[in-house]
Amino acid sequence: MNKSRVPVVATMIALALMAGMAGAQPDGAAAVADEFNRQLPMWWFLAPLCSIIALGSAAFFYRSMMKEAEGSPRMKEIASYVREGAYAYLRRQYLVVGIFFVVVFVLLLFMAIGLNVQHYLVPFAFMPSGFFSGLAGFFGMKTATSAASRTAHAASQSLNKGLRVAFRSGAVMGLTVVGLALLDNSIWFLYLYKFHHTIFGGEPMTMETITMVMICFGMGASSQALFARVGGGIYTKAADVGADLVGKVEAGIPEDDPRNPATIADNVGDNVGDVAGMGADLYESYAGAILAAAALGVAAASTQGLSSEVMFNYMVAPAILAAVGILASVVGILVVRANEDATMTTLLHALDRGIYLASALIVVAAVGVVMILGLPWSILWSIMIGLALGLVIGKGTEWATSAEYKPTQNIAEQSTTGPATLIIGGIAEGMLSTWIPILAVCLGMMSSFALAGGFTDLFMGLYGIGIAAVGMLSTLGITLATDAYGPISDNAGGIAEMADMPKEVRERTDMLDSLGNTTAAIGKGFAIGSAALTALALLASYVESIRVGIHREAAAAYTAPAPTGNDIFHVKDLGFGKFGVYIAGSSGSETENRLYTVSAIQTKSSHSVRLMVDEGPRAGEVLDLVIADLGHHARRMNLVDVEGNSLADNRASLDDFMIFYNVTLTNPKVLVGVFLGVLLVFVFSAMTMKAVGRAAAAMVNEVRRQFREKPGIMQGTETPDYARCVAISTAGAQKEMILPSFLALLVPIAVGLVLSVSGVMGMLVGTLCAGFAMAVYMANAGGAWDNAKKYIEAGHHGGKGSDSHKAAVVGDTVGDPFKDTSGPSLNILIKLTSIVSIVFAGLIVKFAPMIGQFLGIGY
């Protein structure tokens, strides 16, 4: 078989498999016939199969790239400097992150076993999700740093060959991210759904528990992403600013000149920021979107009282959509190619063609998914809305940042009156540019909510939004490929310059590089948009985690007496409006307690049940309660209240939790939470920017030192100490990323413990809204300043060296940490606060009321 056809054949096999399945409606007996020996429908295996196809395709593209010649000895030498720098960074990064993971593992273990506020699997799953995310970053970096010189060499043969090598190398990152994320997801689901209870005994996990436990797994990926984004962002800008300010401005050395000691660190930084950082960011978004949508699907099916078979379908639909997205992405990647006489526009169209084709294929495949899984047709709308949203946000970002359009040209024009007006112009255009993604997300949110029937069934609407997020990210395999392509072509251009390659090669790599700048900006918009949608889905999932947290607390207090007569349960007041309703039979183990427990909260809602409290401060009172959750055995008991109403029919809705925790705008805790969320965004942004300033200062001093102490560098008779600059950037990034990262991790927990659930909800809303707007503003303002400078360099307003250009350089320097450090890091902040809140929900539910009472601010 021709090896170049391998991904095509694999994709066709998977599509054929899907087509074969299309005729077979899932049989209830086949899907969940035996509760204990759970059977999985054949179509479920599409998810792990496609994840393997993604990884296989990535491996194929990687091997194809590695077979390309690396070029001249000089090209090899430069590439090896960058590769060694990248590995040095990764080693240090993984060491710091490894220590962090061990500490958090112990903390989660203590929460699970010592405090009993966490599922005991969460600490164990936290590690692999972080590991897989890190692994995706490692493979991405390995590929990118090997691909740059090969791209430059391929460009010496033809433009199309250069494009294909660079783009398919970028695809390795895209496909590795989606492949590992879906594989991790599939393995854990398979284990929790089918094997956990058979290995460790007990009852099979409910689908609610599976989804909530799996969402907690996301914290590993989120933490890895946070460090990758913040650390990578600081690294890349410290190196960039150091290289520019000393090398270019002070010494007058051109870009990518081997005499600049920071030039290798700058090239490493491109990979660290836009490959490893972006990959970890989107890995987390991708996994988070699938898991949040799955949790909302289960909640939606549960509140509608749908069968476990349908609930299963709702739960796995996001993963199946992601799976078909992988196949579509592979096809899309394969069609990207360019003609020899390609212009910038035709190159962009070549990439667009791949993305549009992938999107169209997903829509077609989604029709099959909806039919096979028996989902409501409204879900198809959500998928299409998500896909459209991705494209709209991407194009909106292009409009806001590309020099082809008015906003950037306006900024460039303002350079003629100096740096101050240019900065004002950039800030204004950046702020204004938020309207496209924010209105697009609002429109997408409302329409996917409404079309999914959210105004009559809240969870179904939220499920629609969750599916829209999955739809948007379903093309991630190819969109991330276009993103990772950027630094590869950028590095290729650098190598072409440093290795003194012929003019036509430099022109080709310049063209590929220009395209990469545009796709990188689009990728940033896509990442932010997907973060907003994912965070919204996670916000709804947070309420589900509160439900689980209350149930876990109730189960931990299990004190069931032996049943006597009709009194088959025992109601215990746990304080702060929480109650445990216990039935006899538990062995006393943590798992068993949960199975025999019904958790409840006090309410005044119409669908409450009335129960007499047997134990605790309010013993003897008959109270109106709604059921937070029912343990597995408790569900089978058909328990009724004093008036004969079924407990199982009166589960608390999302509104009940909102009322119970007084999540209303008149509650100052909510408003304070909102303010704190907004404050978190601003303080986090400030910390990351100051971190860049400090790290860059260290780099500036080092480059100056080398020039001062090694005069031969400028004359080309002495080689700069590249490794020292790489080490300084690495050390600076690792040191400076600690504080902002811990801020992001600790604030949600602190807010939760002091202001309880209402405060956390407020904080999440504040972080989401302010973070989304701020991230878009920073990314677009930074991108526009960068391209305004390039626009001037292309010969407008005086061109290079003019006063306008000097003003634009100031704008670009200001915009660097905007667009490459703080802005992208906010993506993670938005999602991480949600994930941390979800993971620590049990702790908040249990201890926040006590702290609130102690502080006299209610509970």
Binding site: G252, E497, Q715, H796
Partner: protein
């Protein structure tokens, strides 16, 4: 060690003896020994045998001795005042243009065979003064005019460069030209075009960023009829044949 002579002639003038070849001397002058950047530099290599009696070149040669440890002497200043006027044009060899980071491009001199049509033109005087001037006179005429000692404003000898004044469709200076006050330049050009003045000073102390990007035909040095022209290669040729220098010179 061979002693070479260089005439520094960018905004100030000095005759310097050195053991360095032009490339090394250019790098040294631009970058310094301890990375003390001094910026772009322009100098002409001088043939000492053709200087004549105006300067004692033999004495100058003897004064340029290696350092005690045997290292070559990088620069021995021979004259820092009225050097240009005392050095005959026929002794001027290659012109060297040095970028801020010390890369040197050598230009060969030639006689100006064909005079251009009259202006307007824009010249930047590089030595002995450093003003930015517009004039209706073509280069040769302008050099003759400015070195005519009968004129109240004149120099014994001048070194200057003619600069780009490309215009766009609307008649404004082209957007790629990095001049600080393009409207003022346009106004000055209009004045000399209208014949109201032969020459007009645009700026007494111009600060032109990306200077090497603004050069039109080349550099002129001389007085009266003794004139040398150093043609400046086209941008395409510079990018093709002197890529590293051009990237640096154009702030690539």
């Amino acid at each position: 060690m061979e002693v070479r002579f260089y005439l520094l002639c960018n905004r100030y003038e000095a005759l310097v003896a050195s053991h360095l070849d032009p490339e090394s001397f250019g790098a040294y002058m631009a970058v310094g020994n301890l990375r003390q950047t001094t910026g772009e530099e322009i100098f002409i290599e001088i043939d000492p045998n053709k200087v004549g009696d105006a300067i004692d070149m033999e004495k100058a040669r003897e004064s340029c001795k290696p350092h005690r440890e045997g290292n070559p002497r990088r620069s021995k200043y021979i004259s820092v005042y009225r050097a240009l006027e005392r050095i005959p044009v026929e002794s001027m060899m290659n012109l060297h243009l040095v970028t801020r980071d010390g890369l040197t491009l050598a230009l060969e001199g030639q006689t100006l065979e064909k005079e251009e049509q009259n202006g307007p033109h824009m010249y930047m005087e590089l030595s002995p003064a450093g003003a930015l001037i517009v004039s209706s006179l073509a280069p040769k005429g302008f050099v003759q005019f400015i070195t005519n000692l009968q004129n109240p404003v004149s120099y014994p000898k001048v070194f200057l460069v003619d600069m780009l004044i490309d215009t766009d469709k609307e008649g404004k200076l082209a957007s790629y030209l990095p001049y600080s006050h393009p409207d003022h330049i346009s106004e000055c050009l209009r004045i000399v075009s209208d014949g109201k003045k032969i020459t007009k000073t645009v700026d007494r102390r111009p600060n032109v960023g990306s200077f090497y990007r603004t050069i039109r035909r080349g550099f002129y040095v001389g007085n009266g009829d003794a004139m040398k022209f150093y043609p400046y290669p086209s941008k395409a040729k510079l990018d093709e044949d002197h890529h590293r220098w051009w990237r640096s010179a154009s702030l690539g």
